[in-house]
Amino acid sequence: DAGITQSPRHKVTETGTPVTLRCHQTENHRYMYWYRQDPGHGLRLIHYSYGVKDTDKGEVSDGYSVSRSKTEDFLLTLESATSSQTSVYFCAISQTGSEGGYTFGSGTRLTVV
């Protein structure tokens, strides 16, 4: 997706290992979000950021941490991966007050074995 990239696209990791997913934007948008997508649950917000070093929790934040040291990068870390964190993770960016102005990345498929 234009202006936003996620890495890696796919990852398999073992239970108990730390994992970091990266979201990079070239749009200079203020807001960045991490969602996870699971069947029957839609997309659920994990954490979001409203500026450099400004982050807050979403509805499913347990077991996840985030960092944003630069406008363009928003990192999601699973401190100790569990099988329940097997999911597809999406990053999104938006401008303040922009109706519908959310752009999503292509997702990272994470499997915890």
């Binding site: 979403g58 938006s94 292509s106």
Partner: protein
């Protein structure tokens, strides 16, 4: 916690028919209501959005109907085409909470030729 509930979970429509997806929300904090379309392996993409002070919005074959008193809104896809086969998500957005998108559970639409 704000929630958006979506139905049906899956929908099969014949080509040329009307697809209807319904959503309901639980509180009045949302500032607007977008619909997203997602194809397999891709991130969600904005389809159409509506503000709560508007009862209907139409863009091409896609129409949102909004009933503020009932806290319900729906997406109508007229003249449904096989290319419309995708997963659709309704959502609500709260500007003063970091612009968070709160998604419904999703509807998998299949349009048969």
């Amino acid at each position: 916690q704000q929630q958006v509930k979506q139905s049906p979970q899956s929908l099969i429509v014949q080509k040329g028919g009307i697809s209807i997806i319904n959503c309901a929300y639980e509180n009045t904090a949302f500032d607007y209501f977008p619909w997203y379309q997602q194809f397999p392996g891709k991130g969600p993409a904005l389809l159409i959005a509506i503000r709560p002070d508007v009862s209907e919005k139409k863009e091409g074959r896609f129409t949102i109907s909004f009933n503020k008193s009932a806290k319900q809104f729906s997406l109508h896809i007229m003249d449904s085409q096989p290319g419309d086969s995708a997963t659709y998500f309704c959502a609500g957005v709260v500007y003063n909470q970091g612009g968070k998108l709160i998604f419904g559970q999703g509807t998998e639409l299949s349009v048969k030729p």
